[in-house]
């Protein structure tokens, strides 16, 4: 077995392809989100057709991003899948629990400002990132 040459890892190359595909879909989603957000404000005020087109494009590309993310996750090896699963469980749980408590604080007027969905997205994103790093550190 010693004389076997190192073969290129199919797993590594397919993982790289999946990661690049996910990066491209995420980038496209971000760009279309920016267009749908700032277009009606700065470029085409009062043109509802363009706004609907921009939002629809963003939604469709978002579905593409979800599919790319699913493929990326399925392509990971079992340890990285476990790390991702734990991170997603944590971010979903914290997002749900803290998000609903945050919403209650708003609807009961305990806090003066409105509960913004962007705050929830930021919280979930940061939780997910922290959980992935913690998982990677645990198995290092």
């Amino acid at each position: 077995m010693n004389d076997q040459k190192a073969k290129p890892s199919d797993w590594a190359s397919s993982n790289r392809t999946n990661t690049i595909r996910l990066r491209n879909w995420t980038g496209a989603w971000l760009v279309t989100m920016a267009v749908a957000t700032f277009g009606p404000l700065l470029v085409w005020p009062a043109n509802k057709l363009l706004t609907i087109l921009a939002i629809t494009t963003n939604l469709l590309i978002g579905f593409g991003m979800i599919v790319a993310n699913k493929r990326h996750l399925k392509g990971l090896d079992e340890m990285h899948q476990k790390i991702q699963l734990e991170a997603m469980a944590l971010s979903l749980g914290i997002g749900l629990v803290v998000g609903l408590s945050y919403s209650l604080l708003d609807t009961t007027n305990i806090i003066l400002s409105d509960a913004e969905i962007s705050h929830l997205v930021i919280l979930m994103g940061l939780t997910y990132l922290a959980a992935v790093f913690a998982g990677l550190k645990r198995y290092r």
Binding site: P8, S9, N15, E78, M79, Y139, R140
Partner: protein, 66 residues
């Protein structure tokens, strides 16, 4: 779960990256398995057994039993 992956790899003068490529996982996963921080699935354990031409029990041992 204890395992002999590191010994078997060293006997063949393989790097972790080489073994990872052979088994279709990442180098980090091989490192975690060798250190006993991550227990591989049964399919991955079978794959390792086939690669080293050994039985699963020759590579992986249950610490509760041994």
């Amino acid at each position: 779960m204890k395992n002999r992956l590191k010994v078997l790899r060293a006997e063949r003068d393989w790097t972790q990256a080489r073994l990872a490529a052979e088994l279709g996982v990442s180098r980090q996963t091989i490192n975690a398995i060798e250190k006993g921080k991550f227990d591989p699935s049964l399919p991955l354990a079978f794959k390792a057994a086939r690669l080293f031409e050994l039985s699963i029990e020759d590579i992986f041992q249950d610490e509760a039993v041994s």
